[in-house]
């Protein structure tokens, strides 16, 4: 008979503290370099920045020590490091706009505010949701909320079209991206729905070519999500949000049922929808063309691929080691602080820096999957995997768009890009992952 013994376990909080120190160093150093190159380095101002960063990091560390002592120790430092790099870059782009474009922007300061709000939101999640399983009760509430949030930009008078995509809403004079929050609600909904219905979805169905395919009557949810994704693509003119939404669902469906046939069916459906949309709706087709023939003189002259190509120019000029923070010209790329922050980072930090950033994302995602495997309940497993996969997919869609792996879309780069909705939503994801990982690692360490 297995015994449960009292064990002195390693929580990893000390490792977290050490890693946070590194993240803090990166954050402060990057900011200092930017100020130095803009000939604007004031040590007392940098000191305040450093102190603020320390308070934020130590504060969240202490919250974890007290309320989620077994939480994954790598997650928080990795996210803080990304966030710090993003803050420095956005601050640098403010300088670039002022120096070369005559634009007086202060995205940097606003983003500091969003960061604080994001970290606080994550900690509130850790404090409020003491057990992630309680979220299962809100499965359908989350589903409906998510759907409404996704559809909000389509409401006349509320929705806002920026840069061709209708994924913003205007509220109290601010523009918000409800899709970012909807993403979390959808993960909760999918997790709750799939954990209940996985057996039906997983086991029944005809076998074709050695693969067990779903029964037509079980296809309902898939078709519904698919239709929603296609609607998103067509009406919000945003391939990214729709791909993300549908991709998260497929990924979670696969984790829940372990059936590759679902994925294949879903991918086929999405491909059909995407091709049809590209043929029928000119704005979707134009995006494909701008992607495939970006450097073509005619396409470039029409303006559809100009932003993409300018981003490529920026990254190319960065080369292997980059121009150095503050030494490039990221201001030459439209939306250098948000959609194209990856191109800005590629220019000034080089391929080396870009690889490091991608590696940080990969670490965060792999930590999420590790929590998914470690946690015992199916709902938690699905949620952790879903959240992790959502980050991975979002990064893939944005960075893939900038690097021409897939067509360009209007999603934000988690924790890096300028934008409040995205910052807060992605920090909430961190809070949820910390909470689930706390449970996963505690249970793993309690059993001997």
């Amino acid at each position: 008979m297995a015994t449960v013994a009292e064990l002195k376990v390693r929580t990893g909080r000390r490792a977290e503290l050490a890693l946070l120190a590194i993240a803090w160093g990166i954050t402060v150093l990057a900011r200092g370099l930017v100020d130095y190159h803009a000939a604007f380095l004031e040590l007392d101002e940098l000191g305040i920045y450093a102190a603020g960063a320390a308070v934020l990091m130590l504060g969240s560390h202490l919250v974890l020590r007290r309320f989620a002592p077994h939480a994954d120790p790598v997650l928080l430092p990795a996210v803080f490091a990304l966030n710090g790099i993003g803050l420095a870059m956005i601050h640098r782009i403010d300088f670039g706009y002022a120096q070369y474009r005559g634009r007086d922007t202060d995205f940097g300061t606003a983003q500091i505010g969003w960061t604080i709000a994001g970290v606080v939101a994550a900690m509130v999640v850790v404090l409020l949701i003491r057990d992630h399983r309680r979220l299962r009760r809100f499965t359908y509430t989350a589903g409906i909320a998510g759907l409404i949030l996704y559809l909000l930009p389509l409401v006349p008078g509320l929705g806002l079209e920026i840069n061709g995509a209708r994924i913003w809403i205007s509220l109290f004079g601010r523009s918000l991206q409800p899709g970012e929050v909807a993403k979390i609600a959808m993960v909760v909904f999918f997790a709750g729905f799939l954990v209940t219905n996985r057996d039906t979805l997983a086991l029944a169905g005809p076998k074709i070519l050695g693969l067990r395919f779903p029964r037509p009557r079980d296809m309902g949810p898939l078709l519904l999500v698919w239709a929603a994704a296609i609607l998103l693509m067509v009406y919000e003119r945003d391939l990214g949000a729709s791909l993300l939404f549908f991709g998260i669902f497929l990924g979670m469906l696969y984790v829940a049922t372990q059936r590759i046939s679902w994925v294949l069916t879903g991918l086929a459906l999405f491909a059909v929808g995407a091709v049809a949309a590209g043929t029928i709706f000119s704005h979707v087709g134009a995006r494909y063309n701008a992607w495939l023939n970006a450097l073509d003189a005619e396409v470039y002259a029409s303006g559809t691929s100009e932003q993409l190509v300018r981003g490529l120019f920026g990254m190319a000029s960065g080369g292997l080691f980059g121009t150095g923070l503050g030494e490039g010209r990221p201001d030459l790329v439209p939306y250098a602080e948000s959609d194209f922050i990856i191109a800005s980072l590629g220019e000034e930090l080089g391929l080396t820096g870009l690889m490091a950033i991608l590696a940080l994302y990969l670490i965060i995602v792999q930590r999420a999957f590790r929590s998914s495997i470690g946690v015992r309940d199916g709902f938690g497993k699905l949620m952790a995997a879903g959240l992790g996969f959502s980050i991975a997919l979002q990064v893939f869609i944005v960075v893939g768009g900038v690097t021409r792996v897939i067509p360009l879309t209007g999603l934000t780069t988690p924790w890096l890009a300028y934008g409040g909705s995205s910052m807060i939503a992605n920090w909430i994801i961190v809070g949820l992952l910390l909470r689930i990982s706390d449970q996963a690692r505690r249970s793993a360490q309690e059993v001997t």
């Binding site: 049922t257 450097l295 120019f313 994302y361 998914s372 497993k381 991975a392 893939f396 960075v399």
Partner: protein, 488 residues
């Protein structure tokens, strides 16, 4: 659900590998072509942001960069712009580069491999990348005198140092001011450029090396004479020189300039034939030698090959497999024979330098920003054009031409000048081009040059001897003065 979660994490890894591969492609493999894309303003901005090195004539900068307070950081400034435009070219935000600004770009902007250590030093010192200075072989005063002598007539002058191949003067007319294109206001530059290229007289064409090549006319007789000397003729060999030469396989005949007869008994020495520039004699000589012999000799002087001095030089052309009549016409520098003024200066230079043709060059040396010389052009033999004895004979014949022949516009008192005139028909109703090819002093040349006045500057009934020879004389006098004062 652990197994699919693991598999999904592998899929994520694959997605990220795709991103990393794409980023590597853009930032490393494809970076060079993206950076060189003309639509990439970043490259221009960055280049303009660097301190670009000057272009130097006689130890004095004629092109340099001044710091200015705009996004480009530096303004390219041209002193005596029109005088040196043919050599320096322009450096424009909108239209890129030309001339030495183009060919020496990597040195001027500091990105050349040879400046690696300088760049490394700048990097450690935290300084900005700096360009090297390019020192030309030009003589400022000779360039000025040549430009003044040519005046506002369309044409070109190329002067070489026959013993080294250094280009002492390169003038093309009409010219333009590169400063018109160097401004940072796109609209102004566009307007200036449009008005320059819309002009019929082509001010941005470098006639000396890269314009439409010209028929060399009688100056080509030097090449035929060199071929004859090599084939065993001597200056005293009697050649056939009728008043009119029948062209085989054609009802046309070849006559002399103004229909005059070269000799009363239809025969004369080779020397006299060159002296009076007898067309019938050289037409017949070309046919007797055979085109192959003339062609080989022309190639020995550089025909048929383009050069980089480092400005690209258009290859001078020869007819392909001409028949006898065409051979006769070609031997007096008509039909399909074409030459750049530089090519004709090279002919003079080879004869002047005992038959050895030096490779022409425009860049004397390159200095790193710390003034250390990082590259010096060493004179280099380009072709052994003819034997020294033949060259001496031909020199004597050219001296006679200046003393008592068609080149009487050129003699300088106290100095022996070797020269040959040319009056090249252009086939249209416009006046012929006036040529003069010469070097001085004949026994120890310091300068070899070619002068061409396009369509004789609009004058009719004139010859190379009357029009181009005095220009050449003025330039040679200046060269001799400079030589005496040790400035050449």
């Amino acid at each position: 659900m652990n197994e699919p979660a693991r598999r999904l994490s592998v899929i994520v890894l694959l997605l990220f590998l795709a991103l990393m591969a794409a980023a590597s492609w853009i930032q490393v493999v494809d970076a060079n072509s993206l950076n060189q894309d003309p639509r990439n303003v970043r490259t221009i901005y960055r280049e303009f942001g660097n301190f670009r090195g000057p272009i130097v004539v006689d130890g004095r900068s004629v092109v340099w960069s001044d710091p200015v307070d705009d996004p480009f950081n530096y303004q390219r400034t041209y002193e005596d712009g029109p005088l040196y435009a043919a050599v320096t070219g322009f450096y424009s935000v909108v239209y890129g580069r030309s001339g030495l600004e183009r060919t020496e770009n990597e040195l001027l902007n500091g990105s050349a491999d040879s400046l690696f250590w300088t760049r490394l030093g700048n990097l450690f010192a935290g300084e900005q990348q700096q360009g090297a200075s390019v020192e030309t072989t030009l003589s400022g005063s000779l360039q000025q005198v040549a430009a003044d002598a040519l005046g506002d007539r369309a044409g070109a002058v190329v002067a070489l140092d026959p013993s080294t191949g250094a280009v002492l003067a390169m003038v093309t007319s009409p010219t333009y001011d590169p400063a018109l294109l160097a401004g940072h206001s796109t609209s102004v530059v566009n307007e200036n450029y449009a008005s320059l290229i819309s002009r019929d007289d082509g001010p941005m064409v470098n006639r000396a090396i890269a314009g439409d090549t010209y028929p060399p006319g009688s100056t080509f007789k030097l090449v035929v004479a060199a071929a004859a000397l090599e084939s065993g003729y001597s200056p005293d060999t009697q050649v056939y020189a009728p008043q009119e030469l029948e062209l085989p396989g054609s009802s046309a005949t070849l006559g002399n300039y103004g229909g005059v007869e070269c000799s009363s008994d239809d025969h004369m020495t080779l020397e006299d034939a060159l002296r009076v520039s007898c067309n019938t004699a050289f037409g017949d000589l070309g046919m007797s030698l055979g085109w192959g012999v003339v062609e080989r000799k022309a190639q020995d002087f550089g025909w048929g090959e383009s050069l980089e001095i480092p400005l690209p030089v258009t290859a001078s052309r020869l007819p392909v497999a001409p028949d006898d009549a065409q051979t006769a016409m070609s031997s007096i520098g008509q039909f399909d024979v074409r030459a750049t003024p530089l090519q004709m200066a090279m002919v003079a230079s080879a004869i002047a330098n005992d038959g050895t043709l030096m490779r022409p060059y425009l860049v004397e040396s390159v200095r790193a920003p710390d003034l250390q010389i990082i590259d010096t052009t060493l004179p280099e033999v380009y072709r052994e054009s003819m034997q020294a004895a033949d060259a001496a004979d031909l020199t004597d014949m050219m001296v006679t031409t200046v003393d008592s022949g068609s080149g009487r516009g050129a003699p300088i008192s106290g100095v022996e000048v070797a020269g040959k005139t040319g009056t090249a028909e252009t086939g249209t109703n416009s006046p012929p081009h006036a040529w003069f090819v010469s070097f001085a002093p004949a026994d120890d040349p310091v300068i070899a040059l070619a002068v061409i006045v396009e369509e004789s500057g609009g004058q009719t009934g004139t010859t190379g001897g009357a029009l181009a020879a005095p220009i050449a004389k003025t330039i040679m006098q200046e060269a001799l003065r400079l030589d005496r004062e040790g400035e050449l």
